[in-house]
């Protein structure tokens, strides 16, 4: 079973992001970048499937600028067999990415495509679902457990208030939730091996897709500054303030 794992280059989760002065976006100058944590969980799941003998090949793919190669190399060090970068100078949006991936899937014919459920920068949580719609593949989102059966997958999903278990036919799309697995770190020998693994760079034109954004970002605002707290003297005063000032209880 061939497994395709789309991954996104994002600002490292530990970085405190700053909004550009003109509110056009987030300042990425000299900011540490990383593989989106949910995508890393997707890579880990694919590599585990390969280690368990269920998957034959793991392909990491990214759609974005040339420096996404750094994150693809990380995926290769974590156990992916090869990588593909669909290189573009435009800042791609979920629909464009899903179209590019759908065109790539036509060539690759992966039986399983594992996405992170969302990226920690845009928080869109759309690409996996759009890809499933474009390709007509079955999908199970927000997976916390994946079991491979004969021609199908059993996927446990995290839903409000509990768990739901689905059986879906292959080929299928899965998006990963936080608790699916705990990604490993790469060993030094694997970092060295990753430098020799194939990483193909293609263009959106090679796939016959147009990545021109369809949604325009008007403004990006930082969260409001938290105001200083106050110390209350009594429980009664606390209850009063929660009721009448914060209005969080009635």
């Amino acid at each position: 079973m061939k497994v395709l794992v789309p991954v996104k280059r994002v600002v490292d989760a530990n970085v405190k992001v700053r909004v550009k002065p003109d509110n056009s976006g987030v300042d990425l100058n000299n900011v540490k970048m990383a593989v989106n944590p949910f995508c890393e969980i997707a890579i880990e799941e694919a590599v585990r499937l390969k280690e368990a003998g269920s998957a034959s090949e793991v392909i990491a793919v990214s759609v974005g600028a040339g420096n996404c190669q750094e994150q693809l190399r990380t995926c290769l060090a974590l156990g992916a067999d090869r990588a593909i970068l669909v290189e573009t100078d435009v800042d791609p949006q979920p629909l464009g990415i899903a179209k590019a991936l759908a065109a790539l899937q036509e060539k690759e014919g992966a039986e399983l495509v594992i996405f992170g459920k969302q990226s920690i920068d845009g928080d869109n949580a759309q690409t996996g679902q759009m890809f499933a719609a474009l390709t007509g593949m079955s999908q199970a989102t927000f997976a916390s457990e994946v079991k491979v059966g004969d021609g199908k997958l059993e996927v446990t999903r995290e839903i409000d208030g509990g768990l739901q278990t689905l059986s879906i036919k292959l080929p299928a799309v899965v998006t990963t939730d936080l608790r699916l697995n705990e990604p490993r770190y790469a060993s030094l020998p694997n970092i060295m091996k990753a430098k020799k693994k194939p990483l193909d760079v293609i263009s959106p034109a090679d796939l016959g897709v147009d990545l021109t954004p369809t949604v325009e970002v008007l403004s990006v605002e930082p969260p409001a500054e938290r105001e200083a707290g106050i110390i209350v003297e009594t429980v009664e005063e606390l209850v009063d303030k929660l009721k009448n000032e914060a209005k969080v209880i009635s």
Binding site: A34, R73, A77, Y185, A194
Partner: protein, 388 residues
């Protein structure tokens, strides 16, 4: 002249090493410090992930990377609040075997050192009566048939209890029978598993930091003649290039420590509010942190220069010594100013400041005292008369 690039070199290695470190928080190190125990779990994680084998050539199972990569690994470990002191020697002590050992010795030991099956992280050089005056060391190895018999004593032999092998420097020709006092010394690879309790006794030395250091006694310790590494009488030369590597790497650890402290100090100066303002708004707090930062930046440049020279195969003695000096002083500055910034809380163990502060003091003293570095610069760089 060797050149080097600036910027985040080996970003992939930095990322993954930082991830390992995240699993060993301050509380892990604090507990070990309280119990004076060796960080087995951390060392196992670094061993299994191959980072300690960075410098061993690929043909022997290592990664075959330049010293700059090892420098980045150690800096990252320390910048993330962990300590590589417990295992850094496993990275570079093998260098003497690699450069001067026989083909058989390399084949026998290096793959096992690379995999971590064998630990070679003890280096018996310093003696209680001779200190930095290495060529006057008293430990004698006398050849008798197909073995050497060793008598003497070493001190500050770190991690001898956690080593399978020890690199030993001993005198094979008495000092009054050689023309230069650097001659007549020889290096041996001693299998501690064979000799412990059998001519070799290792005693722990309790110290102000959890550093697992020992003193080692040799009483008619017999070792096979093929324990000799390189030619007999050339031991001092054999260990010199290894000492430059060690200085570059220790400087990298000190730099990492300095970065750790500065991060903590700046964060605390920003969040701690006294008299209605963050204490970092007072220049009495802020300037020392800025000075420490400037010193760390300078030290980093010198470390990169020394590593570039070493990796280019050029003489790096001056740069390696100066890198060690600048980094250890800058790290101490960052540690002490952060200690001051933390006020009384610096003394509370749970903040990790007092423990790291004790640890970082070491780099001004070991592996060589900073005064000896200055002596080196005076005589060998500036051409001043020898003072001792």
């Amino acid at each position: 002249m060797a050149s080097f690039e600036y910027g985040m070199d080996y970003a992939d290695i930095r990322d993954q090493v930082a991830r390992i470190c995240a699993e060993y928080p301050g509380s892990y190190w604090q507990e070990l410090d309280d119990k004076a125990e060796y960080p087995h779990a951390f060392v196992d994680a670094l061993t299994q992930s191959g980072y300690l084998a960075a410098l061993i050539p690929e043909e022997y199972g290592g990664a075959g990377l330049p010293i700059r990569a090892a420098s980045v690994i150690l800096e990252t470990i320390h910048a993330n609040g962990c300590s590589a002191a417990a295992c850094h020697a496993q990275m570079y002590t093998m260098g003497t075997v690699l450069r001067h050992g026989s083909a058989e010795q390399k084949q026998k030991y290096l793959p096992a050192i690379a995999s971590g099956a064998l630990r070679l992280q003890a280096f018996g050089v310093t003696e209680p009566t001779t200190g930095s005056d290495t060529t006057q060391l008293k430990t004698r190895a006398v050849k008798q048939g197909d073995q050497y018999v060793v008598n003497g004593q070493k001190i500050w032999t770190s991690r001898a209890h956690q080593s399978d092998l020890m690199l030993l420097l001993a005198r094979t020709t008495p000092v009054d029978q050689v023309t230069k006092r650097t001659q007549g010394l020889s290096t041996f690879l001693v299998d501690l598993r064979e000799v412990r309790g059998n001519g070799c006794e290792i005693r722990s030395i309790p110290t102000m930091i959890n550093h697992n250091t020992t003193e080692v006694f040799f009483d008619d310790m017999a070792i096979p003649a093929d324990s000799l590494v390189g030619e007999e009488g050339n031991g001092f030369r054999n260990i010199l290039s290894g000492m430059n590597a060690e200085r570059v790497l220790i400087a990298s650890e000190a730099l990492g420590d300095g970065r750790y402290f500065l991060d903590k100090g700046v964060a605390y100066a920003n969040e701690r509010v006294v008299f209605g303002n963050p204490i970092g708004s007072n220049q009495g707090i802020a300037f020392p942190l800025a000075q420490a930062y400037a010193q760390l930046e300078a030290a980093e440049l010198m470390i990169r220069k020394a590593a570039a020279l070493y990796d280019a195969g050029e003489d790096c003695g001056e740069a390696a010594n100066i890198a060690k000096y600048l980094a250890s002083e800058a790290a101490w500055k960052a540690a002490d100013e952060t200690f001051q910034t933390y006020g009384g809380f610096a003394f509370a163990k749970e903040y990790q400041i007092e423990r790291k502060w004790r640890e970082v003091r070491l780099w001004r003293t070991a592996p060589i005292s900073n005064n000896m570095v200055l002596n080196f610069v005076c005589q060998n760089v500036l051409g001043l008369p020898r003072s001792y």
